[in-house]
Point group: C2
Chain length 388, copies 2
């Protein structure tokens, strides 16, 4: 075939870590003991009440389509959760159940983002956020962020980078890859600045619940006109279930329904029934226990990396990542990651998966594995650094 | 907010049947016995081996992300299925597991369709196919099809409607809403014509397996350069599991992988493990039994509609729909459907959900409910017609 592929493919970047993962698999096949510190997925199983709820539905064999927006009782539970957690009132009709946060982003941008417009995002940020803009023929203005603003956007940065073609701002807190949580006043000002400029505010809150110290505020606390993207994957431990949600402003309910019908027909039914159990007291006790485990891991990994000479300018308060400055050891973090994998069979994610601003100086370490395994990884890292 | 929503929302049509469904729910809440003949989902439960496979995975609690393209063993099973069923050899790497056929369309058009281009489709056709083109900023050329060509496109029609901006052709067989299966020679010629014009051929084969008489050929039998969209929803009885697949030409494997990572991260893990059991001998025996039940229903409904004076120019050989000409009774099938629902509490889908060509003359009846229920619906229909 001599046809050309769609132009959007040229602006959608692959995940560079995939090449490392491919190599990691080869090493494992050769019998090497590979330690995975690149995975954005904790090692905990799905909480038992969620498992039970799914099995109870599936056993009946009645795994039929739900309505496009999702089970009414699940939308209600999510609305209740916002009342309890953030003290904000949303209507269940504003909540759209989606196939993961990926589906939520697809739906939000589908509703509000036009081709030729641009979206403001921090650099570094989660790469798919940029890719979803490209998907719809929109551009990204990647705004370099530094330790000074907690690696988060500020109202001043938004004003500084806003253009006539800007559609809005995407802000993720806790952030992937930096794990930083935006300060309340900074978030409030960012929302206000975006709205004052006439833009949409898209809040990526998929790591909410996973904070170790300061809790994360929802953008909904500062405006009821924001899009909120969230997920059962991270805090609720449901990665492979592919279920998340989008909260839309009330005026967009009808548009979101129409678009959700086309995009998804509906989200998986068993996952929706399973998620009904995600808010039970029993589940929440287990999730809080896990949060404590993650907090200990965060402390261990943070201390270890500093001891080895990595720099972490802002102690991460959320998610399960540390974005560590490795410029003392290399001026090419991708090569460092590749060499480290080859020499010591430990996989980490290179900075360039998250943007271009100083990306070659950074590595992302995920604490999604046990302290025992991380301790082994840190020994290997120490040896690797010393042998260079 | 005074911001405008995305332009694509203006070209994405809602499902008109949704308004009827809403009213049907109200009637049911009032105690009316509503018969649903609008639903594109059979009343069979998920086959037991599929249920068991899902439960076995979920019980472990290890419901983690799979790779973006899906479980290697499932991709292999699908490749094997094409060898057995159609005698075509495809590589498992060409098979991408997606969240339903919706995900497959999103992925296929994401790879190959540019904004400003147009896609040729039959009118009538499944409405979401048009909507996915709109999503990417592309247009649809809706080609009126008649009984003469079995309500399917032909090479001549493709040549006649092709423009400089045409990207390709989407062809669904068995067709929704007409249930017609394209003749082998007609399919072969349509594929050849599309490729001769330099276009992509997208074959929607989601109703394959559900044929009653003539079996449906795959576009892959005539070219290895086509996109094939398929699903576990219909023949395999897995609607609410949201799992389908896309087969891409070999040269597009890398692009499809990159895009699937962004669009989905992955398809639901339990659904993938469940689908591994879809090809077992035990499941296939049950599916063939169901196919026979559907064939009996098709015959019953076809005979009943003709007896009542509806016209069905081509006896449907596949899917589970009859697209019936009701012009003897009305010149506004939507109003007819609304009145019929109000008077007799039977829901059917109006033609305008599938296009604009003679749409007001047609109603789609789904035989996704038992003969006993359909018999009751036909009695009501007879009474309704007589009382008008």
């Amino acid at each position: 075939m001599d046809k050309t592929l769609a132009q959007r493919l040229q602006t959608i970047s692959p995940f560079y870590v995939m090449a490392l993962l491919h190599r990691a698999k080869e090493l494992a096949a050769q019998g090497r003991d590979v330690i995975h510190m690149e995975v954005g997925e904790p090692d905990f199983p799905t909480p038992q009440p969620i498992v039970d709820a799914a099995i109870n539905l599936i056993k009946t064999g009645e795994v039929k389509y739900t309505s496009a927006a999702g089970l009414p009782q699940l939308r209600q539970k999510i609305a209740d959760y916002y009342q309890h957690t953030y003290g904000v009132s949303i209507k269940p009709q504003q909540v759209f159940i989606t196939p993961g946060a990926s589906g939520a982003l697809l739906l939000a941008f589908g509703i509000a983002l036009n081709p030729g417009q641009n979206l403001l995002m921090s650099d570094p940020c989660y790469p798919c956020n940029r890719n979803f803009a490209s998907l719809y023929g929109a551009d990204t203005i990647a705004i370099p962020v530094t330790a000074e603003s907690g690696y988060q956007l500020t109202a001043a940065l938004i004003h500084q980078h806003w253009t006539n073609n800007s559609n809005g701002v995407l802000l993720a807190s806790p952030s992937n890859p930096t794990g930083t949580v935006i300060a309340d006043a900074q978030l409030q000002a960012a929302v206000a600045a975006t709205h004052a400029l006439g833009g949409y505010f898209y809040a990526d809150e998929i790591y909410h619940g996973l904070t170790y110290g300061q809790t994360a505020s929802s953008a909904l606390q500062y405006s009821d006109e924001v899009f909120v993207i969230n997920s059962f994957s991270k805090y609720f431990g449901m990665t492979g279930w592919r279920i998340g949600w989008l909260i839309v402003p009330e005026v967009m309910i009808e548009s979101a329904e129409k678009l959700a019908q086309t995009l998804f027909i509906a989200t998986g039914t068993a996952s929706q029934y399973a998620a009904l159990a995600a808010f039970s007291a029993e589940t929440l006790v287990e999730l809080e226990r896990r949060r404590e485990v993650l907090a200990e891991r965060r402390d261990f990994l943070y201390d270890s990396l500093l001891r080895l000479g990595f720099k972490v300018a802002v102690k991460p308060e959320g998610a399960f990542y540390i974005y560590a400055d490795c410029s003392q050891f290399t001026d090419d973090s991708f090569q460092f990651a590749a060499d480290f994998l080859e020499a010591e069979a430990v996989a980490v994610t290179p900075g360039k998966d998250f943007g271009s601003h100083d990306a070659e100086k950074y590595l992302r370490f995920a604490y999604t594995t046990s302290i025992a395994r991380m301790a082994e990884a840190m020994e290997r890292l120490e040896r690797f650094i010393q042998c260079r």
